[in-house]
Symmetry: C2
Subunit: 401 residues, 2 copies
């Protein structure tokens, strides 16, 4: 079994790359601090006998050879990038648990049949560059590499340039590495496990999502001298659209909808706003529910903000994970006496792309107060260790399949 | 009378300091481009025989001596700073008309009884540093110089540092220059004159204002994994407050209310917003109407966004201009056969501070479509020349008072 203290000290230790405040993380994809933690990850994996390869979108694959020739890898992974105001666990736990598993295998002398590959996927968060889960999407052939390269952050820096800047635009073609199975450990990021009291979640699938960009135009004017009846204030219809997002979600339980980003121009107190840009995130476990939410919101926008430009920048259908691999996790949890709950993931994960390509499953551990994408995000050392042990044992069983 | 072509070519020529796009201006107070246009203004005034003095808040006073000793200055002025998405006329017309008047006096050999002082007031716009009309407020003793020095922009740069950076923290004490009268020419910045068809406006006074800062807190959470009923999304109550501002203004015609600035944190699409900051601008020609608007909005905020922090960062009562000086302007307009409308100013102006200290009045010229704080802001060469000629003649009459 894994060394809980060593895993915990990796979590706290690597948090220095991109830390803010007491416990916050601001390690945006392909930023300098993302480059730093990647360097640490590569070095650590090499120290435990791995070959490290990088593909064209910057995904890092650290592989320990198996005993049987010609078998594809069992892959274990997640992501090291964070939100701008994120925490120390989201994504990070899954990668560091993989590193800890390498150490356990190496020090115990145990060799697997399959190669074992620990993966750090590029830009899972999607905060700096849209869409989220970009690296795994490119790897699985869902996104074209050239399209991904051209995506820009709000300062006009492209993914291509940002990869180049930190030295992580590799040579390997998307999807180059054969995989027999993919397993991901992650924090839940919601309140379900804590409320249920189970030690771990066995993820049955991932809800679908829609990302919409909305641009609402108005006419800049003097805030004191321009009369109310003649105004075209872009922020007033934008406020109505923000409220409509919430009410559309409430009409389609258990759907959720969020306006996480808003930008006002010129954003000066004494100027009637001339433009507002909103970024919307909508999710639902059923494709039909998601389609209904998209239709309702689009209609509401037409009604409340006539002339607004709406573009759906990302549509992802709900995903169901591999039944056999979920069975493997269930058996391993029972062997470890960990209480387990079957549950749908509210958050998106790299595993949701991998599921379209190889047998895939996920393990969740609880998040305190359900908080994530928040500097107060927390899971206990015991919860992290439980998850890592379940990942190790599930991986060992999968190796025998 | 003034040279309309020379005035127009100054307007177009000095617009290169801080220009963007075809006709936009982004010359924030105490920015590099504000420093550039100040240099131009100083040099031009010296070339026409003025002494140039700078006070501690960076107001520039260019003075042509008068024939009678011991008389106080007749001052003419406005401001050369702009909004971030402003136009080429707001404030600028008033200063450049003053420069043009200097040239006319100099070339015609006409000497006034009083000294004539052309003033460029610091930070009239209030976009980078709050409050607006800062330089004239300090000059008139309404704001303490040390308090003004400490005001910060959103990057944490203080007024003091910004003055130092462009070399405009002068030696003269606030209010050092005796003035016999103050006259300001400005574009209207609203649609009243254009609709009325008058050539010029004789401003009877300036409406009062309130500036409120609002901070609404929430809890950052994952936009996919955190259920709707448990959320504390800061942007939802903020949207309600934005709509309440509009409805409070509509209930208090002819009052206006604007949320010109909004900032969402962490401003990432897949994060439930944890904080929103709003900046509100409210105006009304009557103090009682303004007080009612402030009371109503405060109540609405308590109801719609309980726990929100509200601070009133600026309260300014309505101002009435000097009746005798308005009479002087009316007589001069009649002599020039310019149709004139008595009207209240919707926008704030440096003249609104000066009115508390010396006899003060203002002249407006029409704004096309009523647009200002907009790159499309426009007044014709003829309208600018009419305003400058009326300013010149009013000033000559005032000199004889
Ligand atoms: N797990 C996670 O936070 N993923 C980011 C993409 C998403 O918003 O679901
Ligand atoms: N005239 C003008 O635009 N002044 C700026 C201050 C205000 O918002 O009234």
């Amino acid at each position: 079994s894994i060394d809980a203290d060593r895993l915990w000290s990796d979590i706290l230790g690597t948090a220095r790359f991109g830390a803010f405040g007491e416990t916050g993380m601001n390690r945006l994809a392909l930023s300098l601090s993302d480059g730093q933690v990647r360097g640490w990850f590569e070095a650590e994996c090499r120290a435990f006998g791995c070959t490290v390869e990088i593909d064209r979108i910057g995904n890092i694959f650290a592989t320990l050879p198996g005993s049987e020739p010609n078998l594809a890898s069992i892959a274990v992974g997640s992501h090291l990038d964070t939100q701008p105001g994120g925490g120390r666990f989201d994504g990070i736990l899954g990668v560091l648990a993989g590193v800890e598993i390498l150490r356990v295998l190496k020090t115990s002398g145990k060799q697997l049949r399959h190669p074992l590959t620990i993966v750090n996927w590029t830009n899972e968060e999607g905060s700096r560059f849209s869409p989220a889960m970009m690296g795994s999407g490119v790897f699985c052939g869902v996104h074209d590499i050239e399209v991904a390269y051209a995506r820009m952050d709000k300062d006009g820096v492209t993914v291509d340039e940002a990869l180049e800047a930190i030295g992580y635009r590799g040579e390997h073609a998307p999807g180059y590495l054969p995989m027999a199975a993919y397993l991901e450990l992650h924090i839940e990021q919601g309140p379900v496990l804590e409320a249920d009291g189970s030690a771990v979640g066995i993820v049955t699938g991932v809800q679908g999502l829609r990302w919409l960009d909305i641009r609402i135009g108005g006419t800049e004017a003097h805030a004191g001298a321009f009369p109310m009846p003649l105004r075209k204030d872009a922020l007033v219809p934008a406020a109505k659209v923000i409220l409509a997002c919430e009410s559309v979600a409430l009409r389609h339980t258990p759907g959720v909808a969020t306006v996480g980003y808003a930008h006002v121009a010129p954003n000066s107190r004494n100027v009637v706003p001339g433009e507002v840009r909103l970024e919307v995130d909508m999710r639902h476990p059923e494709e039909s529910g998601l389609a209904a939410m998209e239709r309702d919101l689009t209609e509401e926008i037409e009604r409340l903000a006539p002339g607004a430009e709406v573009s759906v920048v990302w549509r992802k259908a709900p995903v169901v994970f591999d039944a056999a691999l979920r069975g493997v996790i269930r058996r391993a949890a029972a062997e470890l006496s960990l209480s387990a709950l079957d549950m749908v993931s509210g958050a998106g994960h790299d595993a949701a792309h991998l599921a379209g390509k190889v047998p895939t499953a996920m393990i969740f551990v609880p998040s305190r107060e359900g908080l994530s994408h928040n500097e107060r995000e927390y899971s206990t050392p015991q919860q992290c260790a439980d998850g890592a042990n379940l990942l190790l044992r599930s991986m060992l069983h999968a190796d025998e399949l």
